[in-house]
Symmetry: C2
Subunit: 182 residues, 2 copies
Amino acid sequence: MASARDRVLDSFVAIVCEEGERPATLDAVAARAGVSKGGLLYHFGSKAALVEGLCERLTDLSALDIERMRAAEDGPARYFVENCQFVGSELDLALLAASRLQQAGYEEAGRTLDDTENAWLATLVEALGDVPTAQAVKLLGDGLYHAASLGAASDVRPDRASVDMAALLQVVDRLIATKPAP
Amino acid sequence: MASARDRVLDSFVAIVCEEGERPATLDAVAARAGVSKGGLLYHFGSKAALVEGLCERLTDLSALDIERMRAAEDGPARYFVENCQFVGSELDLALLAASRLQQAGYEEAGRTLDDTENAWLATLVEALGDVPTAQAVKLLGDGLYHAASLGAASDVRPDRASVDMAALLQVVDRLIATKPAP
DNA sequence: GTCTATAAGCTGATAGAC
DNA sequence: GTCTATCAGCTTATAGAC
């Protein structure tokens, strides 16, 4: 079984992703992690400390993802777009939670998100060689991520249009094929 | 001077956009609108009623925008992408506020957002004739909107990469030019 | 390291005067 | 239509026992 500290952070992330920032009270997080509020506050002295813990986790996970992206067989652009689908990975959850917390006013979450987004963009620019094309690919991914963040919170809406990933990747290929010579 | 009811709704939207959902307390909204909490509660009987008011406003504003999009000189796709930049318009504010409230757990805001997003996508599909291309354009816009929602809350970050709109519109043109024949 | 008990502050909402 | 006064509930955080 994971350490109590890890379980607390997992629970915090899970509740923020499933229900939002406001329901992620110290009481609720502690209960889900199977500790008392006092026990939680031993590991994270305040709610801001929980956010800080999430930011550290996000930084680690995104650095790992950048490495995988660089080494991806089909190239970083395809890897990036494909992985902007929400599948519930640790990185997905950390990103969604950070986004929610940023929107709830926690500035550190916003800074960490900015850093990770800049790293992704830089990797795309490096791989594609053309800045506008790289920015467009980044925006496509952000768009997917935006849709995920709308969906992951509430119940799934059957009438919400879902994206055909295979077709989208072909659009990405068109974008790369028509990019101006450097 | 606008009616008290409008001033209350304006204040609610403004605080949600500038500081987030949690700081948008009945007290804070009333103070900004220049009425007492009791005065506010006469017009909107609960916080959920404020959200409802915003949703109605968003529905009206987005219907107006769809009309403008259909009639746009450079075509709906260019109009759409250009207008996904956050410039602080009433529609921008309503969209950002709805997104924040959706992420804070207000389901009606999520439903209204879904409706407006579906309407934009349908208009793009109708104008471009190719679904994957239309979805890609929609995602580009969502990506821009995502960047705006990260920026509009906290202070402006000078190191955050900004998008070159002229270059992005050229990418959109490439996308449209290479779309498969119907 | 983890618990219980408690303090102190804030928030949404009601009741009733004007 | 708008105000003041007030309450009940929740949330963060502290203090101190085990």
